[in-house]
């Protein structure tokens, strides 16, 4: 009788497809995973602690470094939290610009998701296509704030600057080209038999399990739970737009992929409506130079590309917050990894990591 035993494989923190510096300790039986334990903390920078020694305005650039592929959303969440705390109302035009920027950022973020999923499954060309088109969005951001990744564009009380005149035509051109790009991805990736069979019915998270882990965003919606903060608790001017929330059925890798692909279409729809409704006017409210929110605490959440991004700020009435906590969706979504990896193959661990789409900058706040 041959005796077999399991062995441990350290996947990461230096590994081609752990999306940064994530370490997953895999206990393997041949190629099959018995146990997967994600170890995080390699990118911990103490951002929450840093917030305590920065003024409210100074903290905005730090939020860029959380989920660095959707910085606009991070800016927005933080600024809205402080505005909620201080009772600042934001000019109409700024609200619409915020919506345009965050939705463009959602498209960019989901394109990056698609690209990294493609390369994790070995489809190099799919990655190149995604990155090529994400570039258009980054160029648009470059136009409005001069940065491609860490924007620091949305400020407390509005946005830092009005959009340049060439921005709207460029965005409209992008939106006009976008359906053709999507068709290309669907031809190259979605329609591919190998990709379908790699993703379909693997790493299923059912609705109950997803709810228990606390998944949010596309990962939760892929399990069939209709939970989108833009719909259930509209912030900003989101209640003025007509859009759908794509839902999955099984909660497998394929659904998580398809939900994100469909969300890009909805985001494009929102941007089109926002451009049509965009009013004139100031982009910044009258906000005092030195912010001194009243003592108290506030929690505010928004729908980021990766899920529910929440900021909890405790103010003691001084210029600096007493405590800032960030509810990072990646951190909580990553907790599903250990659950779903039981019994799947090592190749699927990579696929699950890609479809859960954790971003290490956000996991290690």
């Amino acid at each position: 009788m041959v005796k077999t035993q399991t062995y441990t494989l350290n996947m990461g923190p230096q590994h081609p497809s752990t999306h940064g510096v994530l370490q997953v300790v895999l206990e393997l039986d041949g190629e099959r995973v018995v146990k997967a334990v994600p170890h995080m903390g390699y990118l911990h920078r103490g951002i929450e602690k840093l917030a305590e020694s920065r003024t409210y305005t100074q903290f905005i650039p730090y939020t860029d470094r959380l989920d660095y592929v959707s910085s606009m959303g991070n800016n927005l969440g933080y600024c809205q939290t402080v505005e909620k705390l201080m009772g600042i109302s934001v000019p109409e035009r700024a609200e619409y610009l915020r919506v345009i920027m965050t939705e463009l950022n959602r498209i960019a973020s989901h394109l990056l998701f698609m690209s990294s999923l493609a390369i994790d499954l070995g489809a190099t060309t799919g990655m190149m296509y995604g990155f090529r088109d994400r570039e258009y969005v980054l160029d648009l951001f470059n136009m409005v704030c001069g940065a491609r990744l860490t924007y620091n564009y949305i400020r407390i009380g509005g946005v830092i600057e009005d959009i340049p005149p060439e921005f709207l035509p460029a965005t409209e051109k992008f939106l006009a080209d976008f359906p053709a790009m999507l068709t290309e991805y669907h031809n190259l990736l979605t329609g591919n038999e190998i990709l379908y069979h790699r993703l379909k019915n693997t790493a299923v998270i059912d609705a109950k399990q997803a709810f228990e882990i606390g998944l949010t965003g596309p990962c939760l919606r892929a399990s069939g739970i209709d939970y989108d903060i833009r719909k259930i608790e509209p912030y900003g001017v989101y209640d003025r737009f007509d859009f759908n929330v794509p839902l999955g059925q099984n909660g497998d890798n394929w659904d998580r992929y398809m939900v994100r692909m469909d969300e890009m279409v909805e985001s494009a729809k929102i941007i089109t409506q926002a451009i049509a409704q965009l009013p004139d006017g100031p982009v910044m409210a009258k906000v005092p130079k030195i912010l001194k929110p009243p003592a108290g605490d506030v929690y505010h959440r928004i729908e980021n590309p990766r899920g529910e991004l929440g900021y909890y700020i405790v103010s003691d009435g001084t210029t600096k917050p007493y405590r800032t906590h960030v509810r990072r969706p990646s951190f909580i979504n990553l907790q599903a990894l250990g659950e779903v990896c039981k019994g799947i193959l090592i190749a699927d661990v990579v696929a699950v990591l890609a479809t859960l789409d954790p971003l290490m900058g956000e996991v290690d706040c």
Partner: protein, 346 residues
């Protein structure tokens, strides 16, 4: 013109020139053999250099990039620069490696990859050894490439390498069977395993027309045999870092690379010989047709690589055993029935 510029006439010319200086005919034979072997090895090394460049340009074209464009005109010397870089790299051996196995693996991998070139018909009568079991020799020798992968995987003292090595064994063994069966269909039609006979049997019609299913099965199995995407589970970068090659650096790694491209050329040559009529074609000398056809096959293999995602290991197994093998078997059966009925009516 076809005759005049063929490889055989060139060899005859060379033989005459050598004959003027060397009187002993056995020495002339020896020189000619050395020239042939040198030619084949030059082809293998040159193929790697050219194909790396070609692959990068093809992938760039498919991904709407430019590709290498800095070294030399249109970046053509990029692979040369890479080769110099690899030669000058430090040779690192991991601690705890099984020294002899580890050192031998890249060399042993290169041996079968080069040995199969002995039976390749480059042109009319230009074949190093026209064995009567030519295609059988190819299958037998090419399958030896499995062992060095396992050696490299085992000896590296690295779990990624070991996993990659194990995958190679599973993959090559599973795909050799349908590949052999697909080749069997051609052999049945040609009635011989000799390469020159197989080409001669295709003078009227290429076997791709008579054996389209076998061609498809062969191309799929050959992609798997040469460990290229979508069957690149052995190195599968996103899971196993680089599989058995993870711990190799410098020239040792380059040998693996050389063998990989030699295998790619070998797979294309066999496809050309068995299904596309080998070197035969009008107007031009045979070797030009041969090069054209293998280039087309290589392009198809590259096209696969830059389009498809990778299969999972269980899908790979079930596809090989449950789809490819039955298809290949049925093809053999139908070919047999076809030959029998053809004989009945003629």
């Amino acid at each position: 013109m076809q005759e005049m510029f063929g490889l055989f006439s060139i060899a005859k010319l060379l033989r005459e020139i050598i004959g003027q200086y060397v009187s002993n005919p056995q020495w002339v034979d020896l020189f000619m053999a050395l020239i042939n072997i040198g030619g084949i090895f030059t082809l293998i090394s040159l193929a790697a250099v050219v194909l790396v460049y070609a692959e990068r340009k093809v992938s760039a074209y498919m991904q709407m990039r430019i590709g290498p464009n800095r070294v030399g005109p249109w970046g053509m010397l990029q692979s040369v620069a890479d080769m110099i870089k690899l030669l000058s790299k430090e040779d690192i051996m991991p601690t705890g490696a099984d020294k002899w196995l580890w050192v031998l693996a890249p060399v042993l991998l290169f041996v079968p990859s080069a040995a199969v070139y002995a039976v390749f018909p480059f042109d009319q009568q230009a074949i190093f050894a026209d064995l009567n079991i030519g295609i059988f020799y190819f299958i037998a020798v090419a399958s030896q490439a499995t062992l060095p992968f396992l050696m490299a995987g085992w000896a590296s003292n690295n779990k990624y390498s070991l996993l990659g090595g194990m995958r190679t064994v599973a993959q090559t063994i599973s795909y050799e069977v349908p590949m052999a069966f697909s080749i069997l269909g051609v052999v049945m039609l040609a009635g011989s395993m000799r390469m020159s006979d197989i080409i001669a049997a295709q003078q009227d019609v290429w076997f791709i027309c008579l054996q389209p299913v076998a061609f498809v099965v062969y191309v799929i199995a050959a992609t798997a045999e040469s460990n290229r995407a979508p069957f690149d589970l052995v190195e599968s970068e996103s899971e196993l870092v680089a599989g058995p090659f993870t711990e190799y650096s410098g020239m040792r790694w380059a040998l693996f690379f050389l063998a990989e491209y030699a295998n790619l050329v070998a797979a294309s040559v066999i496809a050309t010989t068995l299904f596309l009529g080998g070197w035969s074609g009008p107007w031009f000398p045979g070797w030009i047709w041969f090069l054209l056809k293998i280039s087309m096959m290589i392009f198809i293999f590259m096209w696969f690589r830059w389009t498809f995602p990778r299969l999972r290991v269980d899908q790979l197994m079930s596809f090989g055993w449950k789809v490819l093998l039955p298809v290949a078997l049925v093809n053999v059966l139908i070919t047999g029935i076809g030959i029998y009925t053809h004989k009945l009516f003629s």
